[in-house]
Amino acid sequence: MRRYSVFALAREGFRQHSGWDRAWSSPAPKSRYDVVVVGAGGHGLATAYYLGKNFGITNVAVIEKGWLGGGNTGRNTTIIRSNYLQDPSAAIYEKARSLYEDLSQDLNYNVMFSPRGVMMLAQTPHEVRGYKRTAEANALQGVETEFIGPERVKELCPIIHIEGPRYPVLGALWQPRGGTARHDAVAWGYARACTAMGMDIIEQCEVKGVHSANGHVTGVETTKGTIGCDKLAIVVAGHSSVLAQMAGFRLPIESMPLQALVSEPIKPCMDVVVMANTVHGYMSQSDKGEMVIGGGTDSYNAYTQRGSFHHIEETVRALIETFPIISRLKMLRQWGGIVDMTGDRSPILSKTPLGNCFVNCGWGTGGFKAIPGSGWAMAELVAKGEPGPLAAAFGLDRFREGRFIDESVAAGVAH
C-alpha cells in the first residue's frame, strides 16, 4: 500500500487524483485464520493492528456485521482523557492517550488528535474533594492533571457561567493533554494499516454461532459461511452478551443506549472539552463548528440505538445552565449507541470459559478514548493466551473475587 505523504498528494494532484488505492480491502473470507476478531470498530481493529505490529500475527480476519466503524466508534463524542482514580484504569487509559499522541504518524493516517485539554467541572463540595483526590492519585500514577479554581476555569473557557443558580462551578479537574480525535479516522486508519499487513477486513458478515470442540473454539458460523480459527477475540461492545451467549457463557454486562447530539455549526467559541458530571452533560466544539453534546445513559436495557427523549432534555437543560450562550442553538442531529455497562464501570479484557476465546468489552460510556491502549493490551492477551500487565486487573474473575476497579464512584456518570 502506498504511503500518504506530501509527495503523494503532489503526484496525485497532477493526475486528477486517479491513483489513490482503496484504504482497505473487503475480501471474501478464507476458510481459516490464526485469529478471528469479531467487530470492526476501533477496539477490534486496534486489536488486529497490534497483533500484527507487536506480535507478527498477520493471518487475521476482522469480521463486522455492519460497516466498518459504524457502531459506537462512529457514535461517540470523541473525548480522550486518562484522569482516572484507580491505578489499573489510569495505566490503560494513559497508555491509550499516549499512543494517540503519535497515532497519525504510526498509522500514516491523520486521526486529527487534538490535545486541547479536558476539564471535568466540580459543582458540589463532594466533587471538589473527589477531584482533588483524583489529581493526587494521578500525580502518583504519572498522569498529568491539576485541580484548578473557578477563575482558571473561566479563563480557559470564557463561555462558562461560573455562578450558576443550582450548581456553581467550584473548580475543575484539568488534563491539558486530553482532547479529541476524529473518530471515523481512527477506525479508517487502523483498517488501512491492517490491510497493509495483509489482514482481511470482512464487512456485512454477521456472526451467527460459535463452533467449539473439547472446550476450545474452532471457528465461527457467519452469514458468509463458516470461518475456522485458532483464536477468537470478541470485541463487540453493546452486543457482547449476544456473542457470549453463542459461545456458551454469560457476562456481567447490561447494554443500554447512550445518546449524543450536535448543534448547527457556529463560530469557534470553545477550545477545550468540558464535562459536567453532576448535571450529566458534556460538550466540545468540533472542527466544523458544531457543538458536540453527550449526556447520561438510559436506565434500562435496550438495543434500540435511539434512546429516550427525556434524557436529551435533561442533558440540554443542564448544559444551558452552564453555557447560557447555547440556549438558542438549533440541534442538527441526534443518535444513540449501545454501551456495555459492567457492575464496576470498568472494562473486561479477559480469557473466557471457552478455551482460546477472549473478550474485550465493558468499556461502557467511555470506550473511544481507550481504543489504542485496549487494542495493545488485547493483542497481548490474544497472542500469549495470558494477560499482560495492562490487562491483568481487568479479568472476568474479578467479579467472583470481589476485586473491583470501582470507577463509578471516581467518575460519576460520564466516562
Binding site: S241, R250, P252, Y300, H310, T342, F399
Partner: protein, 112 residues
C-alpha cells in the same frame, strides 16, 4: 417514550414516572452460597437482544414494584404483572411467542 401499565394502580405511566430495577426473577444467593452462585446473582445477566423480563417501580405513582416483559431490540411491551408473581403467566408467554417464535429467556421459552 416507553409507556408501561402499572398492574397495581392501572395507570399508563411513561418512563419518567417509573424507575427501572434491572433483570427480574433473580434467585437470591446470600451467606453460605458458593462464590459462583453469589457472582451469578450479583453480576451475571441475561442482557438479551429480544424478549426480556425486568423489574420496574412506579416511583412517581403508587410506589409499588412490578415486572414487565419487553423486547429490548424494539421496546415492544408484551405485558406487565405484579412483582409477587414468581413466573410470568402462560397467557403472557403465549403473547411473547406469538410475535417472537422460538424466544428463550433463561429457562422460560416459547415453542418454535
Amino acid at each position: 417514550m416507553l409507556t408501561l401499565t402499572c398492574p397495581h394502580c392501572g395507570v399508563q405511566a411513561d418512563e419518567t414516572e417509573l424507575s427501572a430495577g434491572g433483570e427480574a426473577h433473580l434467585k437470591r444467593f446470600g451467606p453460605g452460597s458458593s462464590e459462583e452462585e453469589l457472582e451469578g446473582y450479583l453480576f451475571a445477566r441475561e442482557n438479551p437482544k429480544g424478549p426480556h423480563f425486568e423489574r420496574w417501580r412506579h416511583a412517581y405513582g403508587c410506589g409499588k414494584w412490578f415486572l414487565a416483559a419487553r423486547d429490548t431490540a424494539t421496546n415492544q411491551v408484551f405485558g406487565t404483572y405484579p412483582a409477587s408473581e414468581a413466573q410470568p403467566a402462560d397467557t403472557l408467554r403465549d403473547l411473547v411467542t406469538a410475535s417472537r417464535p422460538g424466544w428463550m429467556w433463561r429457562d422460560f421459552g416459547g415453542e418454535a
